[in-house]
């Protein structure tokens, strides 16, 4: 058990792991994105109230879900870097920040478009939109904070603390629609009872959510591989790996 976990702290092992997984994860993710988009945009039925405009759900919801989950990835990497001082955890934390920021931006932009179509406004300061904007600032804050320090070890420590503090925001975003009156409706996908979204619309949505997770993992691995190549440019193991 511990040996498996320890492997994730070893740069040569992680580099090799990325090298092995990327070649098949890349085409699978691209195909799944295409298939999911076609399924959601062309084959899923229209909604009885919103017509075709609801189809933006197939981008908006997966992006928002993974933006939240990605934050926990970043915070967890921050915790590992803070407590166990593993350099690779710093890299994972730095990798998650721009990817998470991009997902959050996609959720905010598609949300604005959808809001204009159904609610009649691009932007409303409702609890969920506001807390989602804070999430974007947290991601941007981690990126900026890291760049603000000359010493990368100190920078990683500061970023880890910021990302740990920011975890408070995640349950707030998730529960905001239940805790306060907001323009967002309560959750449609339910874990304990039957969902408020018809199965013919739910399956492509679940497919897209899984695909967005896969895309997150893929982007993380590409980022990790790139920064490992930078950080260990003079290491024997990397030379051996690249010339082999």
């Amino acid at each position: 058990m511990w040996r498996i976990i320890h492997q994730f702290g070893s740069p040569p092992w992680v580099y090799r792991f990325c090298d092995r997984v990327i070649p098949w994860l890349f085409p699978i993710t691209v195909l799944a994105l295409l298939a999911g988009s076609v399924w959601g945009l062309l084959f899923a039925p229209t909604d009885y109230k919103q017509g075709d405009s609801y189809r933006i759900i197939y981008i908006h919801v997966p992006a928002a879900v993974v933006a939240l989950a990605g934050y926990y990835v970043m915070a967890l990497a921050g915790l590992v870097s803070l407590v166990w001082r593993i350099k690779l955890a710093d890299t994972a934390m730095r990798a998650a920040a721009p990817i998470g920021a991009a997902y959050t931006a996609i959720a905010l932009i598609t949300g604005a478009i959808w809001g204009k179509l159904t609610w009649g406004a691009w932007w409303v300061w409702d609890a969920r939109i506001t807390s989602m904007l804070i999430l974007f600032f947290l991601y941007a804050g981690v990126i900026a904070l890291f760049e603000a320090y000359e010493n990368k070890t100190v920078a990683a420590r500061a970023c880890a603390i910021l990302s740990l503090v920011g975890t408070v925001n995640i349950p707030i975003i998730y529960k905001s629609v239940d805790w306060w009156y907001s323009l967002h409706q309560p959750a449609s996908i339910k874990f304990t009872e039957s969902s408020a979204i018809d199965a013919s619309m739910l399956y492509p949505l679940l497919g897209m959510i899984i695909t967005f997770y896969a895309l997150f993992a893929l982007l993380m691995m590409l980022y990790l591989k790139r920064s490992l190549t930078e950080d260990y440019a003079r290491s024997a193991w990397l030379h051996k790996r690249l010339t082999a």
Partner: protein
């Protein structure tokens, strides 16, 4: 676990716990301001300020929509099924605006209890289904109602 790592783990846990408590208390204190709108019951109870920009949200009462013939002006009642508030609005309503649907109206509450709205937003529910399913449900409901 190495005592130093254990100490750092405790520090990290304390950071998360304290910041959660701080944010929790702040949001609890500001809970009234985080709500996007007042419910008609809150308006009826006099909790909403008069002559200041507020939002009122609820369902549009069936059969309450009155449209002026020569202007865009619309008058309708918003309810939370306990109390209701009358809203007037002079402008283009969103597509999803309809009787029995949710709305959030931004405007000023007059002393007469009528909200003069400057913006009306549609609030949709969490249900998504194909039109055929909605029709079938309606039919089933109608049958259930007759029995």
């Amino acid at each position: 676990m190495h005592p130093k790592r254990k100490q750092r783990l405790i520090v990290a846990a304390v950071i998360v716990a304290l910041s959660s408590a701080t944010i929790g208390l702040i949001t609890y204190a500001l809970r009234g301001n985080i709500n996007l709108f007042y419910s008609p019951s809150e308006v009826a109870a006099g909790e909403a300020p008069i002559d200041r920009q507020i939002r009122v949200g609820g369902m549009v009462v069936e059969g309450s929509i009155e449209r002026a013939s020569d202007r865009l002006e619309t008058r309708f009642d918003v309810t939370d099924f306990v109390h209701s508030v009358t809203v007037t609005y002079n402008g283009i309503l969103p597509d999803l605006f309809a009787e029995g649907e949710g709305v959030v109206a931004t405007g000023k509450l007059g002393a007469n209890g009528v909200v003069t709205a400057s913006e009306v937003l549609a609030k949709h529910d969490e249900n998504y289904m194909p039109p055929e399913v909605a029709e079938a449900l309606e039919k089933a409901n109608a049958q259930g109602g007759m029995q």
